[in-house]
Symmetry: C2
Subunit: 87 residues, 2 copies
């Protein structure tokens, strides 16, 4: 999601029962896909901890996504290394 200056798209999304206007240099379909991913993960975390505040659910969701990102980065670098070695 790029800097605020060169914003092209504004999309209204619903995440965990709240509406957000997302501004980004991406297609509306892609932004909806991201919102769906975040909403799904927040629902999963919220369902396991029904008394948890929405802000905490969002922070734990961000932590989960950061975890997936770190693990995928490691896998990606592993593949790059394989390709380098095969050259």
């Amino acid at each position: 999601m790029g800097p605020v200056d060169d914003v092209k798209t504004r999309v209204k999304v619903n995440i965990y029962g709240s509406e957000y206007i997302v501004k980004a240099n991406e297609s509306p379909e892609y932004i909806q896909k991201l919102a769906f991913m975040v909403d799904k993960k927040m629902q999963q975390i919220g369902n396991r901890n029904r008394t948890m505040a929405g802000s905490k659910v969002a922070v734990l969701t961000a932590l989960n996504l950061a975890d997936e990102l770190c693990k995928l980065r490691e896998d990606y670098e592993g593949l790059l290394k394989l390709i380098e070695e095969a050259k």
Copy 2:
């Protein structure tokens, strides 16, 4: 971050000025690293929108991480395809 049943580590982290106890099957160092990533991103988003509620900053942070994850997944699949084709 695995299911609640087989939790091994409990780590206290500070994210965007709030403390959280994170329970996960990961090392404390790795959990701190994830917390640092999320905190940094929340600070960046919060600095651009100083009146924004913390819960909204967290949701936008999760959307940003979902965006990075989707893009990296695409790159990863591209590499896998390259490797398949080279076989």
